[in-house]
Amino acid sequence: MDRARVSKHVIGALLVSLFAGGCASEFDRRFDEAERLRQDVAARGYEWINTADILEQAQASEASGDLAAALVLVEQARFQATAALLQADREAEAWKRRVVR
């Protein structure tokens, strides 16, 4: 193997490892954001039934090396927690309209 070819492999391996590291840190960032939102909505009593389960599945996917699936799951959990927070905000007043009078 000539020197130029070796360098190409080394640079390639370096890039792959940098990319993977970047994705992993991107996963961590997105996971932390989704988990924070889930905790916020749980504190308000409006957590949806499977948001925590989805986050657990995301962690398992990331641990098994399936980053693409992990990021999709994190996005699902983030969406759920955001929607549940909107629900909690709306219900702060909306419930009063349903009281039997």
Partner: protein, 271 residues
């Protein structure tokens, strides 16, 4: 237009007091089902559905909850580790025990019968029972049976602001939409009461707490009121609260107040 916008942007008016709420609540069902006597609501959906009522009455010939009452009676007579019995802690007039709950106790919040039983057990050196355990459900079934004919009489004392706060929290929970299905308890049991969900009709909340614990045929066993709450919250795809959580105790407080004056007729049998 400007007035409408102004009114629309203002917070909604504060809630009415508990007794005004109760009268409106009862009036709602009366207006929907004028032919149904109020006392009948203690029978839940069987007040509204003749076919289901006939099946239920047939089941009552050989009540599936009888074993639970018998077992509860044995538990009632069992001595606790310190030599005392539950009657020493909960009271000697057995038919008067169940009607005392739920009640508000300062610094404790809403105390349910289950909480009171565990407090007595704990004070006597016994292990606290899990709130879904057969022992807890059997004992509450026995105490409900002994209290048959007594009326629910939940009080929200005016001199205890914590009681009103707990009542209001329960009311808020009851009317708030939650979960992926975006449903409130009231959506099924007030707004859509009597309507079909697949093969079953939605039961009224008026009278809900009178007949628990109940034997559920579909489960082949007894469940508590809080297990019913748990199931409803789960079914609208929200994360359920723990049995005997503050949230569920407040809902029980609110719903029991709404049913004040109805006879306790537990344990019951439901599909």
């Amino acid at each position: 237009m400007a007035l409408t916008l102004l009114l629309g942007s203002l917070p909604l008016p504060s809630q009415a007091g508990p007794e005004e709420d109760r009268l409106a609540f009862v009036g709602h069902y009366q207006s929907l089902f004028p032919e149904v006597p109020i006392a009948e609501y203690a029978n839940g959906i069987y007040a509204l559905d003749e076919d289901a009522r006939a099946q239920w009455l047939a089941i009552e010939d050989f009540p599936p909850y009888e074993f639970s009452i018998e077992r509860g009676s044995e538990l009632w007579d069992t001595s606790l580790p310190d030599g005392s019995q539950l009657t020493d802690c909960l009271g000697t007039e057995i038919n008067k025990i169940r009607p005392q709950y739920p009640r508000y106790v300062p610094n404790q919040g809403v105390v349910t019968l289950e909480l009171a039983i565990n407090a007595c057990r704990s004070a006597a050196g016994a292990k606290r029972w899990d709130y879904s355990s057969g022992d807890m459900i059997d004992l509450t079934a026995y105490l409900a049976f002994e209290a048959r004919g007594q009326e629910l009489n939940v009080r929200v004392p005016a001199d205890q602001p914590g009681a009103l706060a707990a009542y209001e929290a329960g009311k808020r929970f009851y009317y708030s939409k939650r979960g992926q299905l975006n449903f409130a308890c009231a959506d099924c049991h007030v707004t859509s009461v009597g309507q079909y969900v697949r093969a079953d009709r939605l039961g009224p909340s008026l009278g809900h707490p009178t007949h628990f614990p109940v034997y559920r045929s579909k489960l082949g066993g007894m469940i508590s009121l809080h297990q019913r709450f748990f199931g409803c919250v789960r079914d609208v795809r929200a994360k359920p609260f723990e049995l005997q959580s503050e949230e569920f105790r407040n809902v029980e407080f609110f719903l029991s107040y709404m049913s004040n004056g109805l006879e306790i007729n537990g344990p019951g049998a439901r599909k």
